[in-house]
Subunit: 358 residues, 4 copies
Amino acid sequence: MIKVGIFGATGYTGAELIKWLARHRQARIVFAHSESHAGARLSDVMPCLFDLPLVQADDAPLDQVDVVFSCLPHGASAELCKRALDAGKRVVDFSADFRLRDAAAYAEWYKHAHPYPELLDEAVYGLPEIYRRDIADAQLVANPGCYPTSIILGLLPLLELGALADPVIIADSKSGVSGAGRKPSQTTHFVEVNESLAPYNIGHVHRHVPEIEQELNAAWRGDGDSGSWIVDREEPAHDPRATIHVIFSPHLLPISRGMLSMIYVRLTPQAAAQDWHAIFTQRYEGEPFVRVLPKGQIATIAHAAHTNYAVLSVHPVAGMPDRLQIVSCIDNLVKGASGQAVQNMNVMFGLDECEGLR
Amino acid sequence: MIKVGIFGATGYTGAELIKWLARHRQARIVFAHSESHAGARLSDVMPCLFDLPLVQADDAPLDQVDVVFSCLPHGASAELCKRALDAGKRVVDFSADFRLRDAAAYAEWYKHAHPYPELLDEAVYGLPEIYRRDIADAQLVANPGCYPTSIILGLLPLLELGALADPVIIADSKSGVSGAGRKPSQTTHFVEVNESLAPYNIGHVHRHVPEIEQELNAAWRGDGDSGSWIVDREEPAHDPRATIHVIFSPHLLPISRGMLSMIYVRLTPQAAAQDWHAIFTQRYEGEPFVRVLPKGQIATIAHAAHTNYAVLSVHPVAGMPDRLQIVSCIDNLVKGASGQAVQNMNVMFGLDECEGLR
Amino acid sequence: MIKVGIFGATGYTGAELIKWLARHRQARIVFAHSESHAGARLSDVMPCLFDLPLVQADDAPLDQVDVVFSCLPHGASAELCKRALDAGKRVVDFSADFRLRDAAAYAEWYKHAHPYPELLDEAVYGLPEIYRRDIADAQLVANPGCYPTSIILGLLPLLELGALADPVIIADSKSGVSGAGRKPSQTTHFVEVNESLAPYNIGHVHRHVPEIEQELNAAWRGDGDSGSWIVDREEPAHDPRATIHVIFSPHLLPISRGMLSMIYVRLTPQAAAQDWHAIFTQRYEGEPFVRVLPKGQIATIAHAAHTNYAVLSVHPVAGMPDRLQIVSCIDNLVKGASGQAVQNMNVMFGLDECEGLR
Amino acid sequence: MIKVGIFGATGYTGAELIKWLARHRQARIVFAHSESHAGARLSDVMPCLFDLPLVQADDAPLDQVDVVFSCLPHGASAELCKRALDAGKRVVDFSADFRLRDAAAYAEWYKHAHPYPELLDEAVYGLPEIYRRDIADAQLVANPGCYPTSIILGLLPLLELGALADPVIIADSKSGVSGAGRKPSQTTHFVEVNESLAPYNIGHVHRHVPEIEQELNAAWRGDGDSGSWIVDREEPAHDPRATIHVIFSPHLLPISRGMLSMIYVRLTPQAAAQDWHAIFTQRYEGEPFVRVLPKGQIATIAHAAHTNYAVLSVHPVAGMPDRLQIVSCIDNLVKGASGQAVQNMNVMFGLDECEGLR
């Protein structure tokens, strides 16, 4: 039985994590933390049926757990992750604090120096579809962002096979409101969101951009333990010195949860001749939580909502053989956060990767 | 041309008022006030196309207007209404500050002494369907609350005719989220509201209770200038010493705007024999903004949304002749606030009551 | 391992049943039926990830199952339930076909003679909170309607203790759209439902009325195996010849799933002096799927959505000691249909009642 | 006073048209047609307060009107438009029947031969921002589709100035459900749409593609009376023989009305050096119903909903000077249908173009 501690239990990802762990037969929650609601129970703080007591950080019995999940926002999270690591515990961090490998990039995008740059090398990016072997051994797993999860999984086979003629990819992404967190703001007021659709942080300025581009370029270069999935992979036809960029356009959708990325790429002539539906299907064949829909079906948020699956569909463009569209859907709270964290925990502790998630 | 000033222009009722006034051919906005956004323009503060500059209260040119609308919350509103009245201006106040005639009741429900109790006698309750003649002469109109508007209009004919056997009325009301104001809070966060329905302040404790009961009892006693609509009104069969009470249950609906009150009453034997659909139709025949639906149709929020109409339907209960249900729908931002305020302004200034509202 | 067959797998309750059974460790789906989609797979018919093949009724291998769930609408369901019973199988029927004990009432409300009136005596009303012992032995379980489940559970302690001064109860109920079924109609078109709230079948004419009143009166008379929960139950203070009636007002809510009933009762003087929160808590103490919220909290649909719980809150009315309000929330697809059906299956087969449902 | 007849009054565009005409001071509805609901009144058919009687086509008094709006679907519309034209009436057709100039393209995309190909030359594409002068004289105006309106207005300045380096444009569009019409279908069932986002007809196969490409290429070639807006327009830098293509991805949004197109283009080196926000602002300066937001603001559906405005925002991409994003929002029922039709009527009859629309 894996003993679990949770930092930041009263946000949407924290509550979702508790729900999935409640179904997990080999995990037990030892503590749930909330600084602002310490002393209350979870069901006092949100309409739910879990009566977990909430403790403040200094009272969290770190010595009694095997793994700590931190569901805190970036900045606040690094601090408590460090404390857990120092106590010898394994950590899955939901924040962006350990996702970027480059401390300078972190400082540029998050506007403050990274407090523990020495941990960046140690941290493993927690996307099992790429880094499963590293995750198994990791002390610190940086659970991916929701947008990056949907976009990276939607592009992985294309990058690994060097199929892009244009290094600029367009990802038009739409997310449910829980992705913006539980703290009230004008932006998340019901009346502002409802019956609208609002793009935000467009024009290559959203903080998920460096995370997405870091991983797209890693796949492009053939990093990751997934590079070997096609044994007879030839030398890539592309110039390995090219850098992948993404024009990433997030939108706030008037739904609670779920995310859809519509991805547009331009293929090399060689790639344009291939059956990408078949290649995607082959690439993800053994993946328990990636589903490529049959030809003719289009992925929707309804396919993925309340599940840990990334649901993909692959679409050629009539009359334009060098163009391809991929639809990639996840639930931002599950595969985009808490479900993926449980999946990572399962990998870290050698459990069935699907335990608690189906 | 009526010159208009607006206090509190950046809330939902303020913005809605601006929209309706923009269509009004005999009104012109002279100033729009916002203490927190002074210096900005309305379109900087919300997604709209009105470029009105926003001024702080001390810069509002009160001397240049004929009428002031105050869309501020209770407490804050009384102060600025007083300032406008002192400047000799006519005032329509959206807040609860001048709706209760009894300063003691105000103090009890709003937890602070009324700052200007001497104004309570002077204020006219701004429901034209009851107090049209008084409104025409009023210097200070207390624009009714949204819940009270829907409930009072749904009961008026029954009360005026003394039809109730049980002085306790049940009003099960459901409101869109704009009724809770524009200030962000946990309660109005999209994810908390969406895909749910949340009763609140149930059990006779909501602040609209004294306002509703004040007006129901006034109608029950035959106050108001509307009492004469049936010339041959007999002596009421009921005990005039009885006091009407309402069990009022507000719910927060996952929609932006609109309100529905389902009202349940018990009829006297005499009243049970009458055709209440016909009586309601007759009562509201000359009212420009009350519509009684034909028999067989049921009022829905869609009927009333984005209009200044109260839409009613009247329903006997099969097998229980002494019971009656009334459905009363309004748009909380229009007939429940800004539209009714414009209607009151039209009455105050002797204009066509419908100008700008159809 | 219980082997399960499903008639009518492509509606919302069928798909929901499949989802819950997929998590159940002691049940396995042997066939899923759809007359109109026979030959396709479930994932062709709706956005889901279950690849179950769909068979027509004549091809359903009834001999290979232990229990049949029929998720078909009334009328169509009786036929296939009869076939399964004749094959010696146990049946849980989601339709209204076997809920009324009185064939004449069935004929009156459903406008056609009951095809198998001899089965009505045999059928057990599948609300475990009342009929657990009978369900355990039943061959045919009539799974309750969603509205009746929410209303009966919200009233049970009051009826069992004879607490009502007025035999007329008001139940103002609001349901998500999945309760109306998956077949397209004008009423369930997105644009008609969205941003509105629509009462329907009000005035004591909805088909759930006789089902609700049948069970409320049974509880009032002290039928059911639950009557003994208070050992020292005195002779009821009420006139046992009185008949309970419900003024039931259903509304269509713009949400996908979930239901809230706001229930209003009038108490006897004796009952008015009691602590009903405590009594409700005591009554449901051992019930795995009924939760009475702590004093001060109000049940919302968010509490119950996606769970098999009925979530209740009990509210006195300030200043009116003889009045009580109860809020009762369920997920219409879970405790109101498929979850309750699995709960019934668990009871019928002597499994842990909670298996697969937590 | 313009006398108006309406074919197809009971769909969403028909009902919306009636609402806008009700506010128009120089138009009067003479008849409203519905084949399936002839004999009823509009308020019997939908929750609204307009009591217009509905007539069948053969009873429509064509001789008493000045202009006919046809809100019927393609195929059905051509027939009644022809009848009105033969009666000497001016016609605004909401359907796609007269939008394509090429009968062969119509046959290819709509799968049947055009019934009146001789009318295609005569029809004017009803986008006043391009064809205002032709509309003024037109007997038959083909009111543009909603998607085309949003996309064409978002690209017009770029095309007119020959600014594109890549003739393939990406338009990722999201529409409210009223765009799918009022006829019930599985696709528009509340539960299928709600809490999801569903791309459809992606991959260059949607029927709006030929309409969009027809008009984009016309603007690219310099057709239209708007070509002269920059007097010193140089010879276009682009190859005039290139053909513009659009990768158009429509999505069904869980909202009732409103549409957002996110448009991605690649600029020529010359164009990359220009201030496109300034150019868009200049281009649309005199346009009463196109609004370019100030720099720093992003257009949302809330900006345009319930108005006749197209609301645009223009966004460079950080670090990629040759890329530009344009956000273009309209209300699909207003600027995308009924409002634009009234605007066209105003132009056709020499009225103030804004009458009834502000």
